[in-house]
């Protein structure tokens, strides 16, 4: 059994205008020490997915169905009290903007020690020693003085290091990192990512990395999910998806990387923009932006605009796309016919 199992997770927001489906039928697993990437444009539901794992989505959002299983226990039906023992202790989080994540009026020491004291019965002295040790591991110079400092006295990169130290304080099994480097200076991004990776490897911590940086995902993670409009549209081993993306959206994302463009030419892009979750297109949510709703021979594929695509298995990956399903069917038929004609 996997350490973390997410089955048919379904998250909705009860808005005044009606329910908005923010997450539909999300399934994945994470083993101890494994690294999983979740990619997609803004609004695809990546952060909602991250927050719903620990049942931290803010109202009016709620988990409408499915389950999150961690270490055999179902997290989404746990009491708030029991969940609190998991949060920050066995599963911890790293947020996007280090400038906003630390409380401006509490000292670094207070914010580190309170986390330790919330989960363990230890003296301030012991807690301080653990905090200092973690600060050293994230390579913060003169950690003793940092404990008495306030967030505004530290740079963004330094603060993100402290947040990583807080995430590691209780030796968690899983860290959920929601775009941990997006708000940082480009020169510091690589440093922070390398540090996070190194520590996860050292302590065999599972990492769920949410990002829109495909480059980082391809270097860091072993498996990945590609999300679009609240759904997973492609998932599987990172290497396979990056080298041979099946879904037109994933292809578009990879094509849009600056290094894929010819120098001097315009950068590639996917035309159009992500639809609003409250007003999804019929059939496959991606079809208005898709270049493949017509077959190679020019005929329309009606399923694209009428039917929500099911997952099909291609290699080690799962893809939700009518075009891919059709191609796979055709290949299977061709093979069968080949066998019939020359037995």
């Amino acid at each position: 059994m996997a350490l973390l199992e997410v089955n048919h997770l379904d998250v909705r927001f009860a808005l005044r205008l009606g329910e908005v489906h923010a997450l539909r039928d999300v399934n994945f697993t994470l083993e101890r020490g494994e690294r999983l990437g979740i990619v997609g444009e803004s609004g695809a539901g990546k952060s909602v997915a991250a927050f719903s794992l620990l049942n931290l989505i803010a109202k009016p959002g709620f988990i409408a169905g499915g389950e999150v299983r961690f270490d055999g226990k179902q997290l989404n039906s746990m009491s708030e009290r029991a969940l609190r023992k998991v949060r920050g202790n066995r599963i911890s989080m790293i947020f996007q903007d280090p400038m906003m994540t630390l409380n401006p009026v509490l000292s670094i020491g207070e914010q580190m020690l309170e986390c330790l004291k919330a989960h363990r019965r230890i003296s301030s002295k012991e807690a301080r020693a653990i905090a200092l040790d973690k600060l050293r591991q994230v390579q913060i110079p003169s950690p003793e003085t940092r404990l008495d400092q306030y967030p505004h006295e530290l740079s963004g990169g330094m603060r993100q290091r402290i947040i990583i130290a807080i995430a590691l304080l209780l030796d968690p099994d899983i860290i959920i990192a929601d775009e941990p480097t997006t708000a940082l200076d480009v020169t510091i991004q690589a440093e922070i990512m390398a540090l996070l990776l190194e520590l996860c490897e050292k302590y065999n911590v599972g990492l769920i990395l949410i990002t829109h940086d495909l480059g980082v995902v391809s270097q860091v993670t072993q498996r990945m999910l590609v999300m679009y409009a609240g759904r997973v549209i492609e998932q599987g081993p990172t290497r396979e998806i990056i080298n041979d993306p099946q879904h037109p959206y994933t292809q578009g994302l990879i094509n849009a990387l600056p290094q894929m463009a010819t120098p001097g030419e315009k950068l590639n892009q996917i035309r159009g923009s992500m639809p609003s979750l409250s007003n999804l297109p019929s059939g496959c949510a991606f079809h208005p932006r898709c270049d493949f709703i017509k077959r190679a021979d020019g005929t329309q594929r009606p399923a694209c605009t009428q039917q929500v695509p099911e997952f099909v298995t291609s290699g080690n990956c799962k893809v939700a796309c009518h075009m891919v399903a059709e191609l796979l069917d055709k290949e299977a038929n061709d093979e069968a016919r080949l066998k019939e004609t020359n037995p």
Partner: protein
């Protein structure tokens, strides 16, 4: 810390300088002091002599300098009406006002923080909605009307109440409202002398009962404002990333509400609060008049009625001084709560 204090002291002196110019300009232009002093029967020649003697014919700047030098030594001249140094008259009335303001401030702080926090934590609860509704009503009703209603309900009593007599809570409310001659609503009663001119209402139960209605009506202006301010700030803070992060760390909600969120909520509230509590001193004019509370406000209205110009000027200066002092104290408190403000005066 000392550098900060020196800087604030300099600001305070600047503000007092401006106030003194305004106060003096009023003194210089309001009525004829000779007229006030000698009355109708004295001939014009004697008046001119007296005017010369008192230096009233000197140029504006000379007169202002004389006024400022005296004012710096807390000498604002004699009250026409009381025929005493104005500072003595003020000193006699100041304790009553300060006690009233202190009681109102106490009510505001002890009520607005819990109510504001509660209605931010549970914005949909019917109690929160009730508080929000009441606070709108509270903001809309002028203080003298609140005061008169309080007197009618709790001091004079009414013959008819909307509460059912046959239930326990109904008869309790009826007793509270309709008992005849309930709460005292006139003057200070018999305050206990502490030292000098200071007599206090805080030292006896009787004194406290005299304080209740005036303090409640004075608080009624600011209380709704503070409740709404705290609620709005707290709601905003609860949306912040650091609160979400604290939840993700597994911290208890109680600690998040009352440490993480409340401390950030209080920063703007302290700033606004400092200014508003200064304003309360000025608002006492209305409350003191309705309740005949023998404080500075009542004295000030009296002074205006009788054109007691030195007393008016002294009142302005003293109220200005109180304003400046409270604001400096509030700045100090703010600096202690907010670590991003350095009290050293050095640029961060």
């Amino acid at each position: 810390m000392i550098a900060f204090l020196v800087k604030r002291l300099f600001h305070a002196l600047l503000v007092m300088f401006v106030i003194s110019i305004i106060a003096f300009a009023i003194q210089d232009n309001l009525g004829d002091p000779i007229q006030q002093m000698v009355g109708q029967s004295v001939p014009e020649s004697e008046r001119a002599e007296l005017r010369e003697e008192l230096g009233l014919n000197d140029p504006f700047l000379v007169q202002y300098a004389r006024f400022a030098i005296n004012a710096a030594q807390f000498d604002f001249g004699y009250s026409y009406v009381f025929n005493q140094p104005t500072t003595e008259v003020i000193a006699r009335h100041l304790p009553a006002t300060l006690e009233l303001v202190a009681a109102a401030t106490f009510l505001i702080i002890t009520l607005s923080v819990p109510i504001g926090v509660y209605s931010a934590i549970k914005p949909r609860a019917w109690l929160s909605r009730f508080f929000m509704g009441i606070s709108i009503v509270g903001i809309s009703i002028p203080v003298f009307l609140t005061a008169i209603m309080l007197i009618q309900l709790f001091a004079i009593g009414v013959s008819w109440t909307p509460f059912p007599v046959d239930t326990a809570w109904g008869s309790w409310l009826n007793d509270l409202i309709s008992t005849e001659g309930g709460m005292p609503a006139y003057g200070r009663g018999n305050p206990v002398p502490v030292f000098g001119t200071w007599e206090t209402n805080f030292a006896s139960l009787e004194g406290l009962t005299y304080l209740v209605l005036p303090a409640v009506s004075l608080a009624s202006i600011m209380l709704p404002l503070f409740i709404r301010l705290i609620r709005a700030e707290m709601l905003e803070v609860m949306q912040s990333d650091y609160v979400k992060f604290a939840r993700a760390k597994g911290i208890s909600m109680r600690r998040i509400y009352f440490l993480h969120a409340l401390k950030n909520t209080m920063l703007p509230v302290i700033t606004v609060g400092g200014v508003q509590i200064g304003t309360l001193v000025a608002y006492t004019i209305l409350t003191e008049t309705v309740f005949q509370w023998p404080g500075m406000g009542l004295m000030f209205l009296d002074a205006i009625e009788r054109s007691d110009i030195p007393l008016i000027v002294t009142y302005l200066m003293i109220v200005g001084l109180i304003f400046v002092i409270t604001n400096t104290i509030v700045d100090l408190i703010y600096g202690l709560v907010n670590p991003t403000v350095k009290l050293t005066g050095k640029p961060a």
